[in-house]
């Protein structure tokens, strides 16, 4: 039996057991990671995971069952179980469930990949991490760490509406960090990002990061931070580097525009959203410079795909246009509840997890400036970059972020390095204060977005560039 045959059998079993809709994902994911520490390989792990998940709709209730067995009998049993679980959901029923249209397609899609990351020899990959971490150690880092990760996923999707889609998605990325340990504190510098940079692409991404070139500077800066002056407390103009702005977008825009949160479906765990659907199209989210798109079609970005896990094709949409909130991340059922006509943002972390609303690539369109122009136009402020800590309330309003490094900005010039820079604010007030935005867009990848119960880890992308925000509270400390 092919994977499509197995999936079709499970769908039919769910229908036979009373489901009015069913879909099945068969997934095979290979994962490889290697970490190095202080010039030596620390861990090499390889995983191969195969199974199927069935989603069934009985009346107005969903059920989901997953099993690591692709036999015909197991697939049919999974279909029946999913329908039975859905029937149990009806003990506490909700409103009628409809699904917005997703035309049935038969399709194949594969991400672009110039160099197969699993085809690169382990020794080549290991040498890279050993050299980079060894260099950081030699330049004074107490802890020099490096990591790469590779995901190679093939999935087959079949629905009772006639979808029949297979996709091959290859994702990878890498990063290094240097930690210096002082008296009662630690300082860390990372390249190119807190966890590295990731994309839906091949090993060419890792090659482009030039890990070894930046290793010595990371170590030296981490040590220098131990004695740098602490970021002063107060209100000032804040310039954020693109990597930190990517996380700002992720936390205070991406999660806030998830329709399941807006509808209250994540209330007890991930939380809700400050956004009210009644204001869709009219709410002022940020300044006129703020144009945010939901775009899973960006080549190479970590939130890219051909079809989501409900079979909806990847389509670019506006989320915020000229500062006004105009779009959400939606699935077929949540969109129907909200009276919208699109889904396309539903994904699952593996065959064993229920697909749910997830960010794709949620990012800013470029502005007219460069970072150097922004600095030159700032009389008094702080530049911060590379995320160190992140926290935001359950409605996605009140946030506090810490960065690895900051610099004083005086009279249009970058001055002293600053230690422990933090900033805090309220999402829409913060975004309305953005008055300069760079054109230097990078599609930062976030491979560790947590959401859902049982917990799921999502891969998201966030095109972002440096930007300036006026009168932000900085320097929050214990």
């Amino acid at each position: 039996m092919t994977e499509f045959d197995v999936a079709t059998a499970a769908v039919q079993a769910a229908l036979d057991a009373g489901a009015r809709y069913a879909d099945v994902r068969v997934m095979h994911r290979r994962y490889e990671s290697m970490s190095a520490r202080n010039g030596e390989i620390e861990e090499l792990a390889q995983d191969s995971d195969l199974g199927l998940g069935v989603r069934a709709l009985v009346g107005s209730s969903w059920g989901f069952y997953a099993v690591p067995d692709l036999s015909d009998a197991a697939a049919r049993d999974a279909g029946r179980r999913a329908a039975r679980i859905a029937a149990a959901s009806a003990r506490v029923p909700g409103p009628p469930v409809e699904l917005v249209a997703s035309p049935a397609v038969t399709a194949s899609w594969a991400s672009s990949c110039a160099v197969d990351p699993l085809g690169v020899s382990l020794s080549t990959k290991g040498d890279l991490l050993v050299e980079a971490t060894g260099t950081m150690r030699a330049h004074g880092a107490d802890l020099a760490e490096g990591l790469y990760q590779v995901w190679d996923t093939t999935k087959w999707f079949v629905s009772s509406e006639g979808h029949r889609i297979d996709q091959h998605v290859r994702e990878c990325g890498a990063g290094i960090s240097a930690t210096s340990i002082g008296d009662g504190e630690t300082q860390r510098r990372s390249w190119p990002s807190y966890r590295g940079q990731y994309g839906t692409t091949g090993w060419e991404l890792v090659d482009s990061l030039d890990l070894t070139t930046h290793a010595a500077r990371m170590a030296e800066e981490s040590r220098a931070l131990l004695t740098a002056p602490v970021c002063p407390a107060g209100e000032t103009d804040l310039i954020l580097g693109g990597e930190q702005l990517a996380l700002q977008i992720h936390e205070s825009v991406g999660h806030a525009i998830e329709l399941d949160r807006i509808l209250g479906w994540e209330a007890a765990f991930a939380g809700t959203s400050w956004l009210d659907l009644a204001q869709l199209g009219s709410l002022r989210y940020g300044s006129e410079l703020m144009n945010v798109t939901i775009d899973p079609t960006i080549p190479g970005a970590l939130g890219s795909f051909g079809f989501d896990d409900e079979g909806s094709p990847a389509v670019a949409r506006d989320a915020v246009r000229a500062g006004r909130w105009v779009g959400v991340l939606a699935g077929r059922d949540s969109a129907a509840v909200a009276g919208l006509d699109y889904g396309g943002s539903v994904r699952a972390d593996g065959w064993g997890r229920l697909p749910m609303v997830r960010m794709t690539n949620v990012g800013l369109e470029p502005g007219p400036h460069t970072l150097e122009e922004i600095i030159a136009a700032t009389d008094d402020g702080v530049l911060m970059d590379i995320n160190r800590s992140w926290s935001i309330d359950d409605r996605r309003l009140n946030f506090q972020f810490g960065c690895e490094i900051g610099w004083e900005i005086k009279n249009g010039r970058r001055g002293r390095m600053l230690r422990n820079p933090t900033y805090t604010g309220i999402g829409p007030l913060f975004w309305r204060s953005m008055d300069m935005l760079s054109s230097e867009i990078v599609p930062w990848g976030t491979p560790n977005c947590g959401k859902g119960q049982p917990g799921q880890v999502g891969h998201t992308g966030h095109p972002a560039a440096p930007a300036r925000f006026r009168n932000v509270r900085v320097g929050v400390s214990a």
Partner: protein
């Protein structure tokens, strides 16, 4: 084929492929997880499934690699063994290899409750129904979960182990006027989870939270309910009692130092509730004192971190421990009965109404001059791991307490606080007498703690920023 047979077969395949000089350890884990989720007072997600992981670590010719997979067919196991051996041969030498766990007696784990292990979706749905009904028309959201895990271990040193754990948990909120109240409980048996009791408690707290006022940031005396204390335990565990962080001087922990108030005694006790009797290196698990009457006495180790500090493994190897480090996940903050700082009644039990969920917490609140009663903490993230400075927010209910009486509901606050400093000598003003087991929100681990009265907590922002 049983999990035990699978593990032994994997080890045998390594022997055949790599010869008698190879070191190998195999763990086979089968997890059955069922979780019924509700929101807007209806079941919106209802999932179940079974997963299998075969994990193999080999050490061949001085080199180490780890492989894992879900395929348990003969071909699948052979493929796992071959690719892991290939990976090991391509790796650089591993001079710090700590060797395998020798044959070792296993402790007995808590008995598994069969009714919980094989609970039907209707049984979880019935508890959700009871939670929703008890909330009396308030909007509700949360989950009811049952899970079991079968685990088997074998290595080429001749050590084998087998275990099983079963757990259940329920976690829900009730909402009114944009205010949430929470009730959360972990148990060995689904039968011990009463949806009606939890729903009523969450609703009472939500109703008591309406019309909150905004307080200025600053240092406040606090009473943390068990859900909030669980966050302290979790962050102390991950970043402080982590054997790798300790070995690398990234942890605050100093063995033998009086770093905490004498009222604080922390024990990682995986077999006191749902837990497996061994870790993925086959090391037996048991009670590990972390803090004894305020003095730091232990950190968690796997075989590698133990070797690095000249100690022995405490049974905390996990899939994350080679990189993040070994950390405890079943910490008990011992209740007040044995400690001088105790406040509160001789016996705790029963229920109270309003924001204070139980007499144990009520007794601590009675001792507050001016401070805050905090139900839960949220989105806590570490600013600096060494000082364990953490930022985060309150959630699911905060109230102002004046002269021992709850006077007003308060809007959520942001804090930036070094956790060990908040628990330092003299900082603990009281400890409850009744521990409550708190489930982790996304995985079947637990923390057990009574409520806690602290002298000071640094709130750095309010709803206005």
């Amino acid at each position: 084929m049983t999990e035990r047979e699978l593990a032994e077969q994997v080890v045998e395949l390594v022997r055949r492929s790599a010869g008698p000089g190879a070191h190998a350890e195999a763990t086979v884990s089968r997890k059955d997880l069922a979780l019924t989720r509700f929101a807007n007072s209806f079941i919106h997600q209802n999932v179940a499934g079974s997963s299998v992981e075969v994990r193999l670590r080999v050490h061949v010719d001085g080199r180490t690699a780890t492989g894992s997979g879900s395929l348990t067919s003969p071909d699948g196991l052979r493929e796992l063994v071959e690719r892991t051996l290939v990976a090991a041969r391509l790796c650089p030498p591993d001079p710090a290899w700590p060797g395998l766990t020798p044959p070792t007696p296993m402790p007995s784990a808590p008995a598994a409750d069969e009714a919980t292990a094989y609970a039907e979706p209707d049984e979880r749905a019935a508890r959700v129904r009871a939670f929703v009904d008890a909330a009396g028309g308030l909007e509700t959201a949360g989950f009811c979960r049952t899970s079991q895990e079968f685990a088997a271990f074998a290595n080429t040193a001749g050590h084998t182990a087998y275990g099983r754990m079963v757990e259940a948990a329920m976690d829900g909120i009730a909402r009114t006027g944009g205010v949430d109240g929470v009730a959360r409980l972990a148990a060995d048996r689904l039968a011990d989870l009463d949806g009606a009791v939890l729903g009523a408690q969450a609703a009472a707290k939500a109703r008591a939270g309406v019309d909150p006022v905004e307080l200025p940031p600053g240092r406040y005396e606090v009473v943390f309910e068990p859900a909030a204390v669980a966050d302290l335990l979790q962050n102390l565990s991950y970043w402080g009692f982590n054997g790798k962080a300790y070995a690398e001087r990234k942890s605050f922990a100093e063995l033998g130092a009086a770093q905490f108030d004498p009222a604080v005694t922390l024990v990682d006790d995986p077999l006191a509730g749902s837990g497996l009797p061994f870790d993925i290196e086959g090391t037996p698990r048991g009670a590990l004192p972390l803090v004894t009457a305020g003095t730091t006495t232990g950190v968690a180790h796997d075989r590698r971190t133990a070797a690095a500090v000249g100690g022995t493994s405490t049974g905390h190897a996990s899939g994350e421990s080679p990189t993040f480090g070994p950390f405890p996940v079943n910490i008990r903050l011992l209740p007040a009965t044995a400690h001088a700082h105790t406040t509160g009644p001789e016996r705790a039990g029963g229920e109270v109404t309003g924001p204070v969920a139980d007499p144990d917490t009520a007794a601590l609140v009675a001792g507050v001059r001016r401070g805050l009663l905090v139900s839960d903490l949220w989105y806590t993230r570490v600013l600096d791991p060494k000082a364990l400075t953490v930022t985060g927010l309150t959630r699911n209910g905060v109230w102002l307490v004046e002269d021992g009486v709850v006077t007003r509901a308060v809007r959520n606050l942001r804090f930036t606080q070094a956790y060990p400093r908040a628990l330092a000598p003299g900082a603990v003003l009281g400890l409850g007498r009744v521990p409550v087991r708190q489930p982790a929100r996304t995985e079947p681990v637990w923390w057990s703690t009574p409520p806690l009265h602290l002298a000071s907590w640094n709130f750095t922002g309010n709803a206005s920023g």
